[in-house]
Amino acid sequence: MEHLNLDVAQLLAGSLVLVSFMLLYQDRLSGLINIFALHAVALTLSVAWQAYVQHAPHLYVTAGIALIFKATIIPVALRRIVKQLRIHRTVEIVGGIGPTMFLGMFLVALSLVVMLPATASADPFAREDLAFALAIVLLGLLMMVTRRNAVSQIIGFMSLENGLILAAAGADGMPLVVEISVALSVLVAFIVIGIFLFRIRERFDTVDLFELDRVRGEKR
């Protein structure tokens, strides 16, 4: 039974890493949003499994937040933003898909090499979870670096954040996990509202406001 528990936990965490890779090569915004919803569902299952295995009812709350907020509300909101702001439907990936995927594989290998020896003494659940979580965090960072469009950067950030929640849920009996996931959701909500209100399309270079069309002062 113990073995099965571990296997299922690994399967779910591993599928999160796979979905992270799907995010990495997706170059259409609508597809990106759908896959992010899938990412959030995988996170929900993973956290719910941890809640069941660890007999930690509070983790169900975290799983619920992931399902309602990240797998439902955020994708719907993002789809509306893409529609209303009429953002180009395809987004370029800086550096091309091939090299990015290779870099992604390298990052996953790196996180296994770093985390597995470091966590040798920790319990096996936390161990595998942590290695996968670090891989998801690094893949999220990679996605933020290789995208210029604000919406896809946000999705990169949210996938990174899913990795964090996975790590926190995997740590046995860690207190404040629910509080932390709420705090992170607030952060994400702010970002999404920010894009919507201020119509931010591209990363740092073009913030497009309705009423203001001033020439920038100092060259940067």
Partner: protein, 482 residues
């Protein structure tokens, strides 16, 4: 439980929180500025009370020798900045740069920020500390964007993205620390509390702590503004309201540094873990030298001093990285002096930008003639930040350099080089700003020079004479830091 209710540290978190709630509903901005000032003042008085009461240990908040220093410093700067803010916003209202609604929002977030920073400093566990630093980041993002101009929104967005990534990495480090502690301290709350963590640090898995520190250093280091994670800092300082620039430089960078220092202590307590010093030294030196060269090309007065903040945070991180009683003492002193001096600079710069109607250095000349109080205030505070004797920054920089010479002489060479380059750049800009034929002014301000004078007076006094009480206290903390 009763004694816990009476803790002074509760008041330090509760007063700003209550004030923030009151300010949300306060529609008269003059009254709001008064409430803001009064609440910050009372919070500062309570922080002073901590000096007499000493240690406190509650279930969520705690006070020890280390965080008292930070709390007193940050409530003092929070208080003086609220005085400056009152005269600053009056002008912004008169010129229509801020609407009344924005102002209400501004005052409430100011108190939320003070609350979050006090909570981060006083939090007795690593999870609460992380949450409050996240709240502090969010509120400053909102305040940087308060002008709703293209530039300020862009700065806020950049700060937001980089700050969030930093905060996320710090969370990963925090989780790793918990996992390192959990086999020793058992599941649950105990494995996150500073006091138990410190007591059992030698038993934790060293490899896990090493990995954790890398994430914590990069994550919280982003908030400290260390190169190469500094990119948000100049924009956030330049485009937000000037009181926020003062609070960012004077307080928030320190609070993030406090988090780094706490984790550094944890690693130092574990003999098998890597020494965190070299990493801090490397990031610190990189920041000093990078910022020193960047100072030369600035044409925005607030951006100029933002780069100077990166430089000084680099010096402080460097000093704590070198470690040992003298260098830690120097780091603490330099942090205090930098907070006071840099916020003083922003107090004068804020009014200068208002009277001149521009932040461009090339368009501002002859300040000592046209506005003697502001001009000379700027001259003295920039001289102070450059490290001219007899002001306090000179003494702390001298201590940093001399203690480095004593321990690792080769490291002192690049540090002194960076200091000299920065010195030249700031002096060059200062001469242009302060002397020569005055440029025309666009308006007058009712500048309140009290906060400026208070800060400079403390910096001057500290340079001339440090009270023995303060010295022994800082020495204690320096020993604590290892």
């Amino acid at each position: 439980m009763n004694s816990e209710m009476l803790m002074v540290s509760n008041a330090l978190v509760a007063i700003p929180a209550v004030a923030a709630a009151a300010l949300v509903v306060q529609t008269d901005y003059r009254r709001a500025a008064q409430i803001n000032l009064a609440a910050s003042g009372v919070t500062f008085l309570f922080a002073l009370a901590l000096l007499f009461k000493g240690h406190e240990d509650g279930s969520f908040l705690f006070v020890d020798d280390l965080n008292i220093v930070f709390v007193v410093l940050s409530t003092l700067v929070g208080f003086t900045t609220s005085i400056f803010s009152a005269s600053y916003i009056q002008h912004e209202i008169d010129t229509g740069r801020l609407s009344l609604g924005n102002l209400r929002f501004y005052h409430a977030t100011y108190q939320v920020l003070l609350c979050a920073m006090n909570l981060a400093l006083l939090a007795s566990n690593i999870g609460l500390m992380w949450v409050s630093l996240e709240v502090a980041t969010l509120t400053t993002v909102l305040m940087v964007g308060v002008y709703r101009t293209r530039e300020s929104l862009e700065a806020a967005w950049k700060y937001f993205i980089l700050g969030s990534v930093g905060i996320a990495l710090a969370l990963f480090g925090t989780i790793l620390v918990y996992i390192a502690a959990e086999p020793v301290l058992g599941e649950g709350y105990d494995s996150m509390v500073w006091s138990t963590l410190m007591a059992h640090a030698p038993d934790f898995s060293a490899r896990l702590l090493n990995v954790a520190f890398v994430f914590l250093m990069l994550g919280y280091g982003t908030k400290v503004g260390l190169a190469p994670m500094h990119a948000w800092l100049p924009d956030a300082h330049a485009e937000g309201p000037t009181p926020i620039s003062a609070v960012l430089s004077g307080l928030l960078l320190n609070v993030a540094l406090y988090a780094v220092l706490r984790f550094k202590m944890l690693l130092t307590a574990n003999a098998a873990a890597v020494t965190p010093g070299p990493m801090m030294i490397a990031l610190g030196l990189a920041s000093v030298i990078f910022a020193a060269f960047m100072l030369y090309k600035r044409d925005d007065i607030k951006r100029l001093f933002a780069y100077s903040s990166i430089e000084h945070m680099g010096i402080i991180a460097f000093a704590f990285g070198v470690g040992g009683p003298v260098a830690n003492f120097a780091g603490l002193l330099h942090m205090t002096m930098h907070s006071l001096t840099k916020s003083a600079i922003f107090f004068s710069v804020g009014h200068i930008a208002q009277v001149k109607g521009t932040q461009k250095i090339s368009e501002i000349r002859g300040l000592t003639q046209s506005h003697p109080a502001l001009g000379w205030g700027l001259v003295i505070s920039v001289m102070a930040i450059c490290g001219m004797p007899p002001l306090g920054v000179f003494m702390s920089e001298f201590l940093v350099v001399s203690s480095t010479f004593a321990r690792q002489p080769w490291l002192a060479v690049p540090l002194v080089f960076g200091l000299l380059v920065a010195f030249g750049a700031l002096l060059l800009r200062l001469i242009g700003l302060a002397f020569g034929e005055p440029t025309k002014s666009v308006g007058e301000v009712q500048a309140s020079t009290v906060p400026l004078v208070v800060h400079l007076a403390i910096v001057l006094l500290a340079g001339l004479y440090l009270p023995a009480y303060l010295v022994t206290w800082f020495q204690n903390v320096a020993r604590l830091l290892g």
